[in-house]
């Protein structure tokens, strides 16, 4: 038992969780916490907007697998976190947000900068805490980290009234916490595993489908080994990119609205779909009833509420993806005597691929600047290099054309689709992995939403590389207006945009404009060696549209390959 004030207990509890960095902004209601932070040895990164602080914590978590921490004061500080928390929630990213609150006696009185952040975030957090006595802080923070990082990960908010931060108490820091209503099932039911093995063995056209859950549980190895054992093609979701090395001969890329043509076509032909850590999002499956109607679907997820939520499946398995896949792999291995390297199914996959390649040559999509830039980035970035994206056409181009080859090197907002996420997330990733190059692939619209984080890069010496696909437009929306609204461009074209080169320079970062692929290569190589952040502005024709495209509400088979169908 140690006597200290609540704010000191917050910091001590963070240290015990091995937190080495926090992202945030101080204010009246969290001054005591920032005071305790001052001499703590924990790196405090001063952000320029709380939304970005939450995205940085999120990017840190996605790159490292550890919990990211962000902080804000009460009222507007807390509400500014909301988009960041919702983004982390939709993509199951473990972050802990610590907010200051008005003193206990003022709660409910509409005090200055009072906002009911618990009420506001209840639907977008895994759990919330509001310690009302200082001695509750150590166990509340411990529980917050435990809940955020276990089971299906997600954000947890801890809202601490200012006078609780200031209150002295005898603190007990527990080594372990138990929460009676929270016991994630990690180990799958053996009978379900056995059934999955039987289904997979009797399948003629098996497909593996990996989602964010494969990345979150670090299940990459057993996932790959099962694919290789069965010689089954592998598709992913958008966030599941990297669940399987995309340069692997069995990799087809992501399915969905802007999935690859080969993935979308092959997944519809399967007779047995092994889905791992996916949530059957409409963006991935298209119309639910038109998705793999004839396949036996096996669904592995640690969150029981995901099973049957959007689509009835034949075989649900509740468990951790890694543990479950390892068990399936072991059982499969003991049952498969001879591995086949050739099958009608693999030949069919090859046939579809060949067709897609031929079409791409004909339609010239590979000559688009957007596509060439993305392929160039892949070529210049080492395999362990991290690519974050914003939201828009550039993101969808990357979904199709950027090959993710290592786990946790692809960071993108999928569930919420938050513009402005990529840049701060890339900063968080770079803080987690300082020795690895980190790139934010941006649209000019998205970059403008959180561009002020350039100040953080420069101040903190975080040399991320921002590549702006600069089409002077909200490109994705423009594309939809082109296709679905007969080119009535309503509030999508920017009448004025900043000169991003000078914008970068004004922050003390490096700005380079690249008009050609050659200029881009030079700029990018320069940026890879730079010790300050670099913004590379690439002018892009706004009419470069992203295909293939499954229109909203359609089935995956109604894929459009170009403006004419």
């Amino acid at each position: 038992m140690v006597e200290m004030i609540g704010a000191e207990a917050v910091i001590e509890a963070l240290k015990r969780e091995n937190v080495s960095v926090v992202f945030g902004i101080p204010g009246g209601a969290n001054l005591p916490i920032y005071d305790a932070l001052y001499s703590s040895g924990i790196r405090s990164i001063l952000c320029r907007h709380e939304q970005s602080a939450a995205h940085m914590a999120d990017g840190y978590a996605r790159a490292s697998g550890k919990v990211g921490v962000c902080m804000a004061t009460s009222g507007p500080g807390a509400t500014n976190l909301v988009t960041g928390i919702a983004t982390a929630y939709m993509d199951s990213s473990p972050i802990v947000a610590i907010t200051g609150q008005v003193p206990r006696a003022m709660i409910g009185k509409d005090a200055f900068q009072e906002v009911d952040i618990i009420g506001i975030t209840t639907a977008i957090t895994k759990y919330t805490f509001q310690p009302m006595r200082a001695e509750e802080i150590p166990s509340d923070i411990k529980k917050a980290f435990y809940i955020a990082s276990t089971g299906r990960p997600g954000p947890v908010l801890v809202d601490i009234p200012k006078d609780v931060q200031q209150e002295k108490a005898n603190m007990i820091f527990p080594d372990k916490v138990t929460i009676r209503g929270y016991r994630p099932v990690v180990t799958p039911h053996p009978l379900q595993v056995e059934k999955a093995v039987d289904l997979l063995l009797s399948a003629e056209r098996p497909v593996l489908w990996g989602g964010g859950g494969v990345n979150l549980s670090n299940a990459h190895e057993p996932f790959r080994k099962i694919a290789e054992l069965l010689m089954a093609p592998v598709v992913t979701t958008l966030i599941g990119k990297g669940a399987f090395p995309e340069n692997h001969p069995l990799a087809l890329g992501p399915i969905g609205m802007h999935g690859t043509a080969e993935a979308n076509r092959i997944v519809l032909e399967t007779d047995c779909l092994l889905s791992v850590g996916v949530r059957f999002s409409d963006r991935s499956t298209g119309r639910f009833d038109a998705f793999c109607p004839d396949a036996k679907i096996i669904h592995i997820d640690i969150d029981p509420s995901e099973i049957g939520k959007n689509k009835r499946v034949h075989l649900p398995i509740v468990g951790d993806a890694k543990v479950t896949l390892e068990q399936i792999y072991e059982r499969l291995k003991s049952k498969i005597v001879e591995q086949r390297n050739d099958s009608p199914w693999l030949r069919r996959v090859e046939e579809v691929r060949e067709e897609v390649r031929r079409n791409a040559k004909l339609d010239g999509s590979n000559r688009l600047m957007s596509v060439q830039i993305i392929k160039k980035i892949r070529q210049l970035l080492p395999p362990e290099g991290i690519l974050a994206t914003e939201v828009g056409k550039h993101q969808m181009f990357a979904e199709i054309h950027y090959k993710v080859v290592r786990p946790r090197t692809w960071i993108t907002s999928t569930g919420l689709g938050t513009m402005g996420f990529g840049f701060p997330a890339s900063i968080g990733a770079k803080v987690a992995k300082p020795d690895v190059p980190v790139v934010d692939l941006a649209g000019d619209g998205s970059f403008c939403m959180t561009e002020n984080s350039l100040a953080v890069c420069v101040e903190e010496g975080i040399p991320v590389i921002v590549v702006i696909m600069d089409n002077r437009s909200l490109g994705m929306v423009e594309q939809w207006q082109r296709i679905f609204y007969n080119r009535r461009y309503s509030s999508v074209k920017f009448g004025s945009t900043p000169d991003f080169v000078r914008l970068a320079e004004s922050y003390g970062a490096v700005g380079i404009r690249a008009h050609t692929l050659e200029e881009f290569e030079k700029a990018f190589n320069h940026a890879l060696l730079s010790e300050v952040a670099t913004v590379i502005d690439v002018p892009i024709d706004p009419e470069e549209d992203v295909y293939p495209f499954v229109p909203p509400g359609a089935g995956l088979k109604d894929i459009l390959y170009g403006p004419n169908g």
């Binding site: 639907a123 759990y127 929460i179 009676r180 209503g181 969150d303 509420s305 049957g308 939520k309």
Partner: protein
């Protein structure tokens, strides 16, 4: 097929738990008929009895979403035939003349209710029972003129 299901849940007895549950129902579009909450004998815990209308798969999803809430500790689905289901109602009716009062007393007896308050022009009757019994009672009282009704919503317990 849409029908009523009763979920008897054990939850943490702390502020915000009812809010978290009802917020989830609203957000996911579940159609809740009633929720009642009260303490149970174990300290720190409460029982929340939820009546929900929906088909089998909706209710299954609701149970999963409810189980996902960290403050929810246990959920039991009660089958109507294997459980005792009760609701309490307080009904204030017009009763200004002698005849009305006599008739009312008669019905109260048949439905095993109780007169709990008498005013100059009104009587307040308490009745407990399964919701359909209460519905039937209320229907009869309508002819007297109902001034006000307070119903508790269902609470239930497994038989045996």
């Amino acid at each position: 097929m849409s029908e009523s299901y009763i979920l008897s849940t054990i939850v943490e007895n702390k502020p915000g738990v009812l809010f978290k549950a009802s917020n989830m129902f609203r957000r996911r579009g579940f159609n809740i008929e009633s929720i009642t909450v009260g303490p149970i004998e174990q300290p720190g815990l409460s029982k929340m009895t939820i009546v929900v209308n929906g088909d089998e798969s909706t209710v299954e999803q609701l149970v999963k979403q409810l189980a996902k809430l960290i403050d929810v500790i246990k959920i039991v689905r009660l089958e109507a035939k294997n459980s005792v289901v009760r609701e309490l109602a307080l009904i204030k009716v017009n009763a200004s003349d002698q005849k009305a009062r006599a008739d009312l007393m008669n019905y109260v007896q048949i439905f095993r209710g109780k007169v709990v308050d008498v005013g100059e022009e009104t009587m307040t009757i308490e009745v407990t029972g399964a919701p359909d019994k209460i519905d039937a009672f209320i229907k009869i009282l309508t002819s007297f003129g109902i001034r006000d009704i307070s119903r508790t919503g269902i609470t239930a317990i497994a038989r045996g």
